[in-house]
Structure formats: structure tokens, C-alpha cells
Amino acid sequence: MTSIYGPVTDWEHDFDHADPEYNANVHQIWDDLLNKKQCPVAHTERYGGTWLPLTHEHVREIAYDTEHFTSRSVVVGTTKPSQFDPQPPPSPIGNAPPISSDPPFHAEARRLLLPAFSPKKIDPWASEIRRICHQLIDDMGDVQFVDAAQQYSQDIPVQVIARMLGFPVQDADKFRHFVHLVLESVNEDRETRLAKFMVFDEYLTHQINDHIANPRDDLTTYLLNAEIMGNKLSPEHVGGTIILLLVAGIDTTWSGIGSSLWHLATNAVDRRRLAENPDMIPTAVEEFLRAYAPVTMARLVRDDYDFHGYAMKEEDWVLLPFPAANRDPNVFHDPDTVVIDREENRHAAFGLGIHRCLGSNLARLEMNVAIEVFLERFPDFELDQSEEVTWSVGQVRGPRRLPVRITARS
């Protein structure tokens, strides 16, 4: 990946969330900004002007304020939506409804998808997810060293969402490549990105046409038959929503599983407690979600706006780092310590307000099952110190290489 921006030297006035140093050192960076520089809202001219609020109060206020902040685009990039497409879909629909939609259209587009992702619809997927996890571990063979990110975490959400959409499971690499393009190559130049988008667009059109010709019991057919206010969804709406489900469903959960396993690989006490007490896993997962929340969202400033003395300009980006909000000492006791049996945990890993992560029930289920199966099959493991852990770049944070040494198996 070739960034059009140079390395960051000043995180207060020239930060870049897509600089590789950001995700690798993010807790230190937030801590320095908040406590050493007394800077609760950082700013950069990069990406055409971007803000980074860090407190729970500010992040929450912006998440709730759909009047001054639009969701028209939620991934900060070198290209703003008005430049990206000469004739962008009119607000409030956006490119990938409902995540890119504003009220009042947002509620209609979201209402369409909510039933498919409610706990009662998602819970039955547990046995299939468990089967996928066991299969991935079987496929590793009897080896001592595995990459828990590449050989395990990344494959679980991709396989689940492909099955839900009714796309070929063997196309998983295509999805991953596309997600990487959307989320990690944000600082590449516009032409390079557009050309890559076109390739995936063709693939998606092919899959949608195949579903039109051969309807089946899956989410794609459901979307093609769905209606909003008596009208079928436009092909752009269906395609945009599928893109949303792919992008939102893959890297995020991969990161959540990976960060949890990274924590366990580096914390022997927590690892043994969970291996011996699997009934503690659901509470531990909530703490992993708090401490290692993968997702930072974004908004665009609708019109020039004075946000607590910060002069935000029309079409400035505003990052919503829910992971930073989750470490605010005004909301969480001892926030920098990972307490796997933390009882009071009002974390915002899945966002706040009307855009609460639609797939949160699925993500939670995948994380719970993935960690349970990993600990069941590998009751003890540790970081492989001879290899390097690498972290993702951009708004979704998680380990992309997680070399571990298996020290016990069952």
C-alpha cells in the first residue's frame, strides 16, 4: 500500500489513523493526547480535514447528533463522497444503507434488516459456527506453531457471512481483498481505489443476478424481495447493503476474535481461568470488546459547526473512536486494566445511538464460540516470540498476524 501522506510526527495537529503506528500504539497515543497534551479533540488536515474526539462524552454526543453530523460516508478516505461519485445517491440514503443513511430514511432501511440479525434469529447459527471453528483447527494439523489471526480468526466471519448471503464460500479471498481495499487502503490515490472497486462491483452484480435468476433462502434473495414503503429496493440499495454486510461483518469480527486471542496469548492467568471455567467466557468477551473494541466509526460535518469551541467545517471528517470512549475513566473504573470478570461494563464497542452495529448479536456469538473452541482444543498456548505480531491499519483495529505456540492440546 502506498500512502499519499508521510509518517506522523505530531499526533495532536497532524494525526493519521491510517499510519501503521496508530493502531500498533493506539493506547499510548490516546493517553499522551489526553493526559500529556490536554488534548481531548485532535485534528489533522489530512483527508481534507479530520477530527478525533477522545472522551466518552464527546463521542457519545456526536453519535447521537444526526442533525450536525451525517453518516453519508463512514470510512475516512482521501476522497469525500461528493468527489467520489459525481452523482452520489442523495442523502439520506447513501452508498451502503442503512449505515450511510440519515433519518428519516435510515429507520426504514434498518428496520428491513433488524429481524434477520435479532438474537433469536442469530442464536441458531451457533452450531454451524462451532463446526467452522473445529474444522479450521482440524485443518491446522498437528503443528506446534499457528497464526491465530490468519489460520483461525479471519476465516470464521468470512465463512459465516458468505453462508448467510448465499455467496460461494470458496470466494472468501475475494471478500477479504475487497474489505482490505475499503478499510485499509484509504490513503491510496483515488484512481487506484476506483479501479479496484470496479472489479468487486462486477463480482457483486454477477452474484445478485444469479440470485434474481435462482432465488433461494438467503439474505440476498430476502433483500431482492424486500420492500420499503411499497417499493422494491433499487439494485443500488441491494448491492450497497450487501457491501455493508461484507465490510462490516468480516474485518470487525476477525479483529474482535484476534484481539481476544492476543490477550489470552499474552496473559497466562486469564488464559488459564477461561480454559478452566468456560462459563466465564461471555463476561470475558464483553471485557475484550471494551478493552479492544475493533471499530472506530466516522461522520461528516453537515454544515460549519462549532463543537465545544472546535471550528468544524462542512464536510470535515469526524472519527468516532468507540475504543477510546471505552477507556474513559469517567465511565469505567480502572479502564486501562483488562478485568475479565468485570460485572459493570457499559461499553460502546458496537456504537451508540441509531447506528448501533446491526450485526452485534452475530459478532458476539462468533467471538464467544471462537474463543470457547480455541481454548477447548488448545487449553494452553502463548505468543511465539520469534515472530512478530502485526496490527491492521485504519478504522478497524485487530491483529493481522498472531503467531502462537501451542503448548497443550486436547
Partner: protein, 64 residues
């Protein structure tokens, strides 16, 4: 003790349903509501407080 979910604030995080299914249920859209008119049976008060303390949207109200 009584519990109540503020439907205007609830965004369907499902934490209350996961932590206290005796007190809360969710509809087809994933939004929560209290069971039994919100009356908390004796012995479940701590569960009600746990659900309240875990709601990201501060949507759960408890009347003692």
C-alpha cells in the same frame, strides 16, 4: 422494585436480555422491553441492577 426500558433510548444492544432474561425480552427487531409490567421478583434485584449498569444507552430505569 420495578424496571422499565425507555423505548426511545433502547437501540437493541440486547445486554439486558442476555444478563436478565427473567426480566427482559426482545421483539423481532431486537428492541428490549420489560416483562411482567416491570415488577422484579424478589431475589432478582441484583440482576436488574446488573442489566441497568450494562446498558450502553442508559435506557433502563429502576424504581425502588
Amino acid at each position: 422494585m420495578r424496571v422499565h426500558v425507555d423505548a426511545q433510548k433502547c437501540q437493541g444492544h440486547s445486554r439486558c436480555y442476555a444478563l436478565a432474561p427473567e426480566l427482559f425480552d426482545i421483539d423481532d427487531y431486537g428492541n428490549a422491553h420489560e416483562l411482567n409490567d416491570g415488577v422484579v421478583p424478589e431475589g432478582l434485584e441484583a440482576r436488574a441492577r446488573l442489566a441497568q449498569a450494562n446498558c450502553p444507552e442508559f435506557a433502563i430505569i429502576i424504581q425502588e
